[in-house]
């Protein structure tokens, strides 16, 4: 331990701690701008200067490691003067006129720091150099006039996301934040994860969706799990007067530590489907508005009289609703098929393996953040489960080997150190060949190289997605286990939608095939139905659809019940590595729209069925593929 004194307070900290971190631990506030807890200390803005006894000059606390016996002062006149001077230099460099900035009054760290220092004005004359504003990006505006050159965005883009889109051109006062080699932001390699807009301390990168819609002082926060895929990122949904304003990643979340992808941050606010606001019942061939009671009665009567019934539910639904759904249809109506819209494609084979083993065999996603070799099987983490992809991409420059085995179009493969062919259906042969190559080498150069990388790795990870899970047979999975054991590798299955894993725990995994079903119950929620689903339902004479938005499914259905979308409901989600997390309601549902939970309860009542509501117990009944961590 290192002992030091900060503003008269003595504190013991670990070696390698910075003065800034030590000050924070001692409860001493040091203002910063370029520093961000999720980024490597940079020492760019010089706002965090402190006086170190015995040192000739002021030192930046963010990059200064502690030494034993150090005496630090953070609020001497010299330090306060330096802070004001640093802020004055920043303010006078570009267009930092708050009265016409969208982040002014609460959302701007530069302005907040100036207020803290009691700055009523700055003494230097401004440098009236205009820079072009780049508004070519669909979600963000890049305004160099507001930039303080802290490079947080550049560092976040590289260090956290591994995308390396943002960078700087020119030097000094001409320094220009650019995308790629100065191409329009909207035409660049940007993947719209929005980490840069969230980390920007000023208005240099602006979120188009929420610009001028409300500032920190106007908004409410709703922190919960993202429901766009099974990674389970924590996010903050910002609302104002019951309107969705913006979505931000939770910096304090242990899994995603602030990161989100475009699917979690921007796309949910781009919803343009038509909302269903009233129950509909088919009369004389066309759908007519009906009361809830009437629609539920028609649904209940239609479903009760058919034993040849298929019931399907979206894996975007909370566990509470999936359990209720299963109880009503499996036990109450004894439906022939009770499954999820994923039909177990991402989970069934793996869940069966866990059943067989009698114990979990998959590992924590955290292991993917610190690995030296990744084998990706039929999975494109650039296209899906993107935040897990960020964990991999950002390590590649540090020498982490990435082996991508896939025969489909795979954007992750562009970044791979080794690419291997893996035709769908050949999983057993592929894994057997790899195992042989690890044991005794291979004449295939790439396979030998991949085997070598994996063998030499200390912390290898094997990741696979839904394609692998549906293609791999029992034999392939047995070899996968053998491979993992031999290499000491962590197995990480990314699964499908947000509650894919919960659906697997409930055994909602049977395939939905044409089977002469006479009636179907489809709990779509806010999921966009696939064409395959539309086709499969076409021939079924009586279809009840629960949906938030109009689609071909609701257009063809006989009863349509309008239910809530993601932002209007709370519930529990089981992510890909066993974390039980809450999604939190952010806005009220429109008048006359119920949650699927309420709808299923009312339907149960019409059918005189008492459903089993103990969702937690139901979720724990089956051996999971990865240990479930109780929240």
């Amino acid at each position: 331990m290192i002992n030091l004194t900060i503003d008269g307070k003595t504190i013991d900290v670990q070696e390698g701690t910075t003065v800034l971190e030590a000050a924070e631990a001692a409860g001493v506030f040091i203002p910063t701008l370029c520093h961000h807890p999720q980024l490597t200390p940079y020492g760019g803005c010089r706002l965090c200067m402190v006086e170190v006894e015995g040192a000739k000059t002021l030192q930046p606390s963010c990059t200064l490691p502690v030494t034993d016996g150090m005496v630090i002062n953070t609020n001497t006149q010299k330090v306060l003067d330096a802070r004001k001077f640093v802020l004055t230099l920043i303010f006078s460099e570009r267009n930092h006129f708050c009265m016409y900035c969208q982040v002014s009054n609460g959302d701007c760290e530069l302005q907040n720091r100036a207020y803290d220092e009691g700055m009523t004005h700055w003494d230097l004359q401004p440098n009236w150099q205009p820079f072009e504003v780049d508004a070519s990006h669909p979600f963000m505006v890049l305004d160099n006039n507001r930039c303080i050159l802290c490079r947080r965005c550049v560092r976040a883009c590289g260090e956290l996301v591994g995308n390396y889109t943002l960078g700087f051109e020119e030097r000094g006062a001409d320094s220009l934040l650019v995308a790629d080699y100065n191409v329009p932001f909207g035409e660049s390699s940007c993947i719209s994860c929005g980490t840069c807009v969230q980390i920007c301390p000023t208005g240099a990168i602006i979120d188009r969706q929420s610009a001028y819609q409300g500032r920190e002082t106007d908004v409410d926060h709703h922190i919960g799990v993202c429901v766009e895929c099974s990674v389970g990122c924590q996010r903050d949904v910002l609302t104002r007067d019951d309107r969705l304003i913006r979505i931000e990643g939770e910096w304090d979340a242990p899994l995603n530590h602030g990161l989100l992808c475009d699917q979690g941050r921007f796309i949910p606010l781009e919803e343009d489907r038509s909302r269903l606001l009233t129950p509909l019942v088919r009369k004389d061939g066309s759908l007519k508005a009906a009361t809830w009671d009437e629609a539920l009665q028609v649904a209940a009567d239609g479903l009760a009289k058919e034993t040849n019934l298929a019931a399907l539910a979206s894996t975007r639904l909370p566990a509470e609703e999936l359990v209720l759904f299963k109880s009503l249809f499996a036990e109450g109506l004894k439906a022939e098929l009770v499954t999820s819209l994923e039909e177990g494609s991402a989970t069934a084979s793996l869940a069966k393996l866990a059943d067989k083993l009698g114990k979990p065999f998959e590992a924590s996603l955290d292991l993917l953040k610190d690995t030296d070799a990744v084998l990706s099987l039929e999975l494109d983490l650039v296209a899906e489960h993107q935040v897990a992809g960020f964990f991999v991409k950002r390590q590649l420059l540090d020498g982490t080997k990435l082996i991508v085995a896939d025969n489909k179009k795979n954007l992750l493969a562009e970044k791979a150190t080794t690419k291997l062919p893996l035709p769908a259906g050949e999983e057993t042969a592929f894994l057997a060949d790899l195992l042989t190559a690890i044991d005794s080498g291979s004449v295939d150069v790439d396979l030998a190289k991949a085997a070598e990388s994996l063998k030499n790795a200390e912390k290898p990870c094997i990741v696979y997605g839904s394609a692998f899970a549906s293609n791999a047979d029992e034999k392939a999975l047995a070899i996968l286990l053998e491979l993992a054991e031999k290499l000491g590798a962590a197995l990480i299955g990314v699964k499908g939608n947000a509650n894919s894993a919960a659906a697997a725990q409930l055994g909602l995994e049977a395939p939905f095939k044409k089977n002469g079903y006479k009636a179907a119950f489809v709990l779509l929620s806010d999921e966009k139905p696939s064409q395959k689903l539309v086709k499969s339902l076409e021939d079924i004479p009586f279809v009840v659809a629960l949906a938030a938005y109009g689609s071909q499914i609701t257009g063809n259905a006989d009863v349509v019940l309008p239910v809530t979308m993601w932002a209007e409901q709370s519930g529990t989600y089981l992510n890909l590595d066993g974390r039980l997390q809450k999604a939190v309601k952010a806005v009220d549902a429109p008048e006359g729209v119920l949650t699927a939970y309420e709808t299923l309860l009312q339907l149960s009542e019409k059918l005189s069925f008492k459903p089993d509501l103990d969702w937690k117990e139901k979720l724990m009944e089956r051996v999971p593929t990865v240990e479930i961590q109780q929240a």
Partner: protein, 180 residues
Amino acid sequence: MSKPKVASDWLCGCAGCHMSLLDIDERILQVVELVDLRSTPITDLKEPDEDGVTVGILEGGINNTYNEEVAKKMRERCKILVALGDCAVFGGVPAMRNFFGAEAALQRAYVDAESNDSEAKIPTSVELAQMTHVRAVHEVVPVDVFIPGCPPDADVIFYALVELANGRIPEIKNDKLHWH
């Protein structure tokens, strides 16, 4: 002891800061009790007393030769000069034109604007002041008290006036400090 004299004027601004001053409502009676309100844009007297005032208040930035004259006269005739509002403190919204230049601003306003007809032209007259870069007041004359805000809150203005009337320099900080 006679009451301190206060004069004010507006330069390149929108008059909003003086409107915010009027937003102190009935408290203006307390101000008049404390000070001798002399020339202001909203009273009859238009120039500060030749023999000087205690406090001079300027709203707006300085965007032409006439503003320069007014600012210099106010500075000469007052003991304490107050820059009131973002335009006086920073240049404010009018200073946006500094990024394009006065010529481009005139061209846009008098010729290119959609509401202008085909004969529209930039007015020229020897009687018109010459346009300059838009500057904060302190870039032209020394300023003693800065009250930023667009506009500053009436409460902040009232606080500052009472402090000045009592011979104290107001401290604009914490909840009294905002720049927007």
